[in-house]
């Protein structure tokens, strides 16, 4: 039987250390909605989502009540819309109509966000893929809950540089359309290398074609809990440090596992995976950067940061896989800038640069995340930054991503306010030298060799 110490520990994690379940995400296959008639596709998509996810909000609230654990987001991910709309959509505007349908369906079932306005183009783009990509600026501007992602590269196929170049342009268009709101719509767009099919986190969630009809994926959180646990072992050896992180990650993941199993049972939808990511928020104490500081860095970004983060990420996984048999998604430490107060402090202190963040993405998920850059950054430079991030993922056989926010009308020294869970971000300087001649080459970068590893 549980004892009072354990009960107090659990409740303190929730009440004082901001432990929560970050998201319950229902993945829904829309392949059955494919039709040549656009009106019919829209109808089928709306009906399918609102049928499968109709109890999402209700069940999430029941679970919160039963166990006393907050579930911050209810989300939906769907089959990449470039596939669903390929037969019916004849122009980018046709795809935008599907974005509106997704938005309405998400609102109807009380989902905060819906992901899957996506295209998978790591080797080549179909006509439909390209139309979807070109429709992204309008789609994100005219909807509020739709999230978009594009897989531009993979270890097996290489990097589709034509698509990378296009995304540099598209990102600036998205930024421009929301320039009166600090280019905030860029938060809803992410590009990937090796995108996972079962990611519950936004903006990159989509329901991969390898998945079943519907599935429950759960993302846990808990940077605050890890930080608090590490406060008890200051100055101890790496062994003690690692043990502490593993044990804490185990406890956090078990909560996610319980919530996922309950949600699966109550919704009658099979359980897919737990995503073990340490996901920060701007709330004080809910920061991955603060964990790095607790490990022994003056600021995140100081020499040693990459090593400390690699260790943290690995221990989180080691503790987490013991707690759940089905771990997937991104599963690592997120290092977004704007959503993490400790990371913002690092930027403001001049302790961390874009280049250091890039190095950090080699050892953790997910990539250059929520980074505000000057609005006058050329599209080719953005494409170059994306290409660099894709190369890291491709060569290291891991998922990497880029979610950059070129803030139109603002430059280094300015700050942008995104509001709520998204926090604020100081604009970071970008290397001024050109990569235009590189990015403007046509075609793709071939897949890397998988032997002679160095």
């Amino acid at each position: 039987m549980v004892n009072i110490k354990e009960v107090i520990e659990t409740n303190k994690m929730v009440e004082e250390q901001t432990l929560d379940v970050r998201t319950i995400t229902i993945g829904i296959s829309l392949l059955e909605c494919i039709d040549a008639d656009l009106k019919l596709v829209n109808e089928k998509v709306y009906n399918r989502i609102t049928t499968v996810a109709k109890d999402l909000d209700k069940v999430a609230k029941e679970i919160e009540r039963d166990y006393g654990i907050p579930i911050v987001n209810r989300r939906i991910s769907v089959t990449p819309i470039a596939l669903v709309g390929a037969a019916a959509c004849k122009c980018p505007a046709d795809f935008v109509s599907l974005a509106h349908t997704l938005d309405k369906a998400a609102e109807a079932v009380g989902a905060n966000l819906i992901g899957g306005y996506s295209a998978l183009v790591s080797k080549g783009m179909t006509t439909a893929d390209e139309m979807l990509i070109r429709s992204i600026p309008q789609a994100l501007c005219e909807t509020s809950r739709v999230c978009s992602s594009v897989n531009l590269a993979s270890t097996k196929t290489g990097i589709n540089m034509d698509a990378v170049r296009l995304m540099g342009d598209i990102l600036l268009q998205v930024a421009d359309r929301s320039k009166d709101r600090d280019s905030v719509d860029c938060m809803k767009l992410v590009v990937f290398c090796n995108a996972p099919d079962d990611n519950p986190f936004m903006a990159g969630a989509f329901h991969g074609v390898t998945e079943a009809d519907a599935i429950i994926n759960v993302g846990v959180s808990g940077p605050g809990v890890v930080k608090k646990a590490l406060e008890q072992v200051r100055g101890e050896s790496f062994e003690v440090l690692c043990e502490t992180i593993k044990k804490t990650a185990f406890k956090v993941t078990r909560v996610g596992q319980l919530v996922a199993q309950e949600a699966s049972k109550r919704l009658g939808i099979p359980f897919g995976i737990i995503d073990l990511s340490l996901a920060p928020t701007p709330a004080v104490g809910d920061s991955v950067a603060d964990i790095l500081c607790e490990i022994g860095l003056e600021y995140a970004g100081a020499p040693g940061t990459t090593a400390a983060l690699a260790m943290l990420n690995d221990q989180v996984k080691k503790g987490g896989v013991m707690a759940s048999s089905y771990v997937g998604g991104l599963s690592g430490a997120f290092i977004p800038v704007s959503e993490d107060q400790g990371m913002i402090n690092s930027v403001e202190a001049g302790a961390i640069t874009l280049e250091k963040l890039e190095a950090m993405t080699c050892v953790c998920s997910v990539g250059l995340d929520m980074i505000a850059i000057p609005g006058d950054t050329p599209a080719t430079t953005i494409a170059g930054m994306i290409a660099d991030e894709m190369a890291l993922g491709m060569v290291n056989q891991k998922t990497t991503a880029a979610r950059l926010i070129p803030v139109i009308g603002k430059g280094v020294g300015d700050t942008v306010e995104f509001g709520g869970l998204f926090g604020y971000a100081p604009i970071m300087p970008v290397n001024k030298f050109s990569c235009a001649d590189f990015v403007n080459r046509q075609g793709r970068i071939p897949a890397p060799i998988h032997s002679f590893k160095n």
């Binding site: 039987m1 549980v2 004892n3 009072i4 354990e6 009960v7 107090i8 520990e9 659990t10 409740n11 009540r65 039963d66 166990y67 006393g68 654990i69 406890k251 078990r254 909560v255 596992q257 319980l258």
Partner: protein, 91 residues
Amino acid sequence: MENKVIITVVGKDTVGIIARICTYLAGSGVNVLDITQTIVQGFFNMMMIVDIEKASKNFGEIQKDLEALGDEIGVQVKAQKEEIFEKMHRL
């Protein structure tokens, strides 16, 4: 196991906390299996393990009633299903 609920009471110690909570539980057909109490950083902490299988009210109602009772006494009363603690602290 499904019917086991953990009730926690946290707050300033005062006369009759356990009595009033137990009176409510008895009146609602809730069986108390175990009670532990301790003082943490000057605060009264109590945990009860109860069985609601034969209760005359459902879990949601019991939870709300206890919360309201806690407000009356001036302490925080929470009711949570036991699994969250079991899962977190047991292999």
